[in-house]
């Protein structure tokens, strides 16, 4: 098994559970389109039915077959995606990150403002901030399939689209073209990419 690119997503329960799942699906589905081996899944130990509780979604990308079948958490995330900026005060969002990682944050605030709350920022190569809530606006929720297990319709209609667009700006593991192809809100992905503020560290 070759090198595995790990993405850990932090979202807030109930309000963002589906969007978080969509974000991990968009990452995996787009990389799959790019010919990579991928995985996307939720953290089974979290409490997604509690309002606002932080919870985790994961994705993995690799050039070779992924043999990590029963590792249910990303121990060494190369990218950490924060779907609500206040999570940076409640969680060590860079836990396990090897040096040279990327932090993507959905926020109205600037990278400098967010970095004040990241004590271990020396691990980062770049931070990306995007105001996904403004770009996506209000979206009707569409719970297709059973707990998202077979969700194919409307994946990436809400904030997950601009956030994943922003993520593509800071890593070559994701291609804008494939993300646009797999996301329901194609404009949202592009706007996220265009408006994201990237700060290299």
């Amino acid at each position: 098994m070759g090198e595995v690119y790990e993405v850990t997503i932090w979202a807030r329960g109930v309000t963002q559970d589906m969007e978080g799942r969509h974000l991990s699906l968009l990452i995996a589905n787009s990389a799959d389109k790019d010919g990579k081996f991928v995985q996307a899944w939720d953290d089974y130990a979290d409490l997604p039915d509690r309002v606002q509780v932080p919870l985790r979604k994961y994705a993995r990308i690799s050039d070779e077959d992924l043999e990590m079948r029963y590792d249910y958490e990303n121990d060494h995330p190369n990218m950490s995606v924060i779907m609500d900026d206040t999570i940076v005060k409640g969680i060590n969002v860079l836990r396990g990150m090897p040096k040279g990682g990327v932090l993507v944050v959905n926020t109205k605030r600037s990278p400098e403002e967010i970095l004040k709350f990241i004590p271990n920022k020396d691990l980062l190569d770049a931070i990306v901030c995007v105001d996904a809530n403004s770009i996506a606006g209000a979206v009707d929720l569409d719970f297709m399939g059973s707990e998202g297990g077979v969700e194919t319709v409307s994946v990436g209609a809400g904030i997950s689209a601009p956030i994943v667009g922003a993520a593509a700006k800071a890593t070559d593991r994701l291609t804008l073209e494939s993300l646009v192809a797999v996301a329901a809100n194609k404009d949202g992905v592009k706007k996220g990419y265009e408006t994201a503020q990237v700060k290299s560290l």
Binding site: Q52, G90, I91, R109
Partner: protein
């Protein structure tokens, strides 16, 4: 309790008296659920204790010496029920990133 006499006109149905929680469960910190915090205006606060009664996590208590309500940042989950129930409009929601304190920064969700 059997000797206790309720004052005239203040009888209540039979129930229970529970001591206020005095211990914190450090294994279940809920402060990281919060996106907005209730900020108190002590000038407006009448010490009516509504916030103490309504808070599902017992995050408000009265400091009797200072005569001030005290808030618990580690366990307040930001539900803002207290702000809705405050009859004096003394509690306002403010986004958490406006403050440097109140960091819990756990390794896992809880």
């Amino acid at each position: 309790m059997s000797d206790f006499k309720f004052p005239e006109g203040k009888e209540v149905p039979r129930g229970a008296v529970l001591p206020a929680p005095v211990k914190e469960n450090r294994m279940m910190i809920t402060g990281n659920w919060r996106t907005d915090r209730p900020v108190i205006d002590h000038e407006k606060c009448t010490l009516c204790l509504n916030c103490f009664i309504y808070c599902p996590d017992a995050c408000w208590h009265l400091d009797e010496e200072e005569e001030k309500m005290v808030w618990n940042a580690d366990f307040c989950k930001g539900c803002l029920i207290c702000a809705v129930e405050c009859p004096a409009f003394a509690l306002t929601a403010v986004n958490e990133l406006e403050f440097e304190d109140g960091v819990v920064r756990l390794e896992k969700p809880f």
